[in-house]
């Protein structure tokens, strides 16, 4: 069980992903864009952040680079369906600036949960 910050502007996708994560017994914090996520991160430090890339107010790319500076230990998973660019373009970029894993939408549920588990295991083993 981990605390996961879920950043996604599309309500439908966010609610669905939140439910997927909660079913896997994770605690989920929701944010609808980069700015809200940054505000939430002032008071709390989740284990993992799952973020969309194309969002209003503050994009996932800006958010990832800020989070990597302020919370270097936080694991980040980037997801994107692509906009004007190929999603792989955004995802490669997000990995290059600090995301541990990236997924193209639609993310396979099992793959997402497995990635979260692996990242948590890595965190725990490096902590010991």
């Amino acid at each position: 069980m981990a605390t996961i910050l879920l950043v996604e502007d599309d309500d439908l996708v966010r609610d669905m992903l939140a439910q997927v994560l909660e079913r896997a017994s994770h605690h989920v914090m929701n944010a609808t864009n980069g700015e809200e996520a940054a505000a939430l991160l002032k008071d709390s430090e989740p284990d993992i952040m799952v973020t969309d890339i194309i969002m209003p107010k503050k994009s996932g790319i800006t958010l990832i680079s800020e989070v990597k500076n302020k919370h270097p230990n936080m694991e980040i998973i980037a997801i994107s369906g692509g906009g004007r660019l190929d999603p792989t373009g955004y995802l490669d970029l997000s990995e290059s600036i600090g995301a541990s894993v990236s997924f193209e939408k639609p993310v396979d549920k099992a793959a997402l949960l497995m990635a979260i588990d692996l990242l948590l295991q890595g965190k725990h083993s490096s902590a010991h």
Binding site: D10, V13, D15, Q19, G81, G82, G83, K105, P106
Partner: protein, 379 residues
């Protein structure tokens, strides 16, 4: 008024072209000279007794005057005939020139119209591409939510239950939607830069056909004609693959699984008149690939809309209507062109044009390829 009757300058020069302009003058001179000789002969050889008769006195003079007059009349007659002949030649020439000019103007007008149509088509495709990309992105999210919730709902019911099976159908339908979205997104992203490399056109086509063969009915024959010479273009192998596969699949569909697809590759030099139909192509040598099928052909209405996105003649669910618009976009990206000719009952011919690879000429040659050593042969 007079000005209107005058011939244009280039035509008035034609008068000088008459073959024997001196002939009328020669006739006048010779005629006059003969009359003069007769006059001289008569004046100096007359016997003196004859000079008493007034008729004999005036005869040499009558002969001289009438001889000179007749010579002059003949000369004037010949000159007039010459002038009429010249004028009719000039008029014929003018007539031919005017006809030529009318044809040239008509061709220019037609070229202009073609360019306008292709510009309009290009803008339309671009606008629809952008719109489609935007819609597809949102639609993808909706489908993603449907899939996610459906999968979760499936977890909550017994695998043997009817609810589980029906949710499976929902998943299938949503996944089909996703497939469609992926194609629309791919279409919307056409303008994104692809890595172009020098590639062997004929080898790539042979490879594509080899890959396609198992997927097409045995009753369809694909006949590839072309030189064994290596034709090199600058392009993206995957995209070219998409182009050929799309056109061949359309051909196979149009032939209702039976017939012959003929592919012919020819090299056109930059000054080839065929290329003048495509005013927006850059001056270069081109490879022309004709793909002809013996299918049912198309009517004019279908032909006009064939490269439009979402236009399809196939049954609902069988075609997305994106295939040929993507092909059109890919050809454009390769600085090439595509045209189609078809007649109901007489099959269809797609003609693709791709510029020959000339390292110094093409605008988007990739940096790492400037020495042109690495050439992909396709696989």
């Amino acid at each position: 008024m007079d000005d209107q009757l005058k011939l244009p300058e280039q035509y008035s020069n034609n008068y000088k072209k008459t073959k024997k302009p001196w002939l009328p003058y020669l006739i006048a001179i010779i005629g006059s000279a003969i009359s003069l000789v007769i006059w001289y002969f008569l004046i100096y050889n007359y016997k003196s007794e004859l000079l008493v008769n007034s008729f004999y006195i005036s005869l040499p003079w009558i002969i001289l005057i009438s001889g000179v007059s007749i010579a002059c009349i003949f000369a004037i007659y010949f000159r007039l005939v010459q002038l009429i002949h010249e004028r009719s030649l000039t008029l014929k020439q003018m007539d031919a020139d005017f006809k030529k000019e009318i044809i040239e103007r008509m061709n220019a007008e037609e070229g202009k119209q073609k360019l306008e149509i292709s510009l309009l088509q290009g803008q339309k495709l671009q606008a629809i591409g952008t719109l489609a990309g935007g819609i597809a992105h949102d639609f993808n999210n909706i489908l993603y939510a449907i899939i996610g919730y459906t999968e979760m709902a499936q977890e909550d019911v017994m695998k043997e239950s009817l609810v589980y099976k029906n949710l499976g159908k929902v998943l299938d339908a949503a996944k089909r939607g996703q497939d469609l979205v992926a194609r629309i997104l791919a279409f919307g992203r056409r303008h994104i830069h692809h890595e172009f490399k020098p590639i062997h056109l004929n080898t790539i086509i042979e490879n594509i056909l080899a890959l396609l063969k198992p997927t097409i009915p045995a009753s369809v024959i694909i006949d590839l004609q072309g030189s064994k010479e290596e034709y090199i273009i600058l392009g993206d192998q995957t995209q070219l693959h998409q182009v050929i596969v799309n056109i061949i699949n359309n051909a196979v569909d149009a032939m209702e699984d039976e017939g012959i697809v003929t592919m012919r590759i020819t090299r056109l030099l930059a000054n080839n008149t065929f290329l003048s139909q495509f005013p927006d192509l850059i001056a270069n040598n081109y490879y022309k690939i004709d793909i002809h099928d013996t299918g049912r052909g198309m009517d004019q209405t279908t032909l006009e809309r064939i490269f439009e996105p979402f236009f399809t003649t196939k049954e609902v669910g069988k075609g997305t209507g994106l295939g040929l618009s993507t092909v059109h976009a890919i050809l454009k990206e390769h600085h090439g062109a595509i045209t189609v000719e078809s007649q109901l009952g007489h099959g269809t011919t797609f003609t693709l044009l791709l510029p020959e690879y000339q390292p110094d000429k093409l605008p988007n040659k990739p940096k790492e390829q400037t020495d042109g050593h690495h050439i992909t042969s396709g696989r």
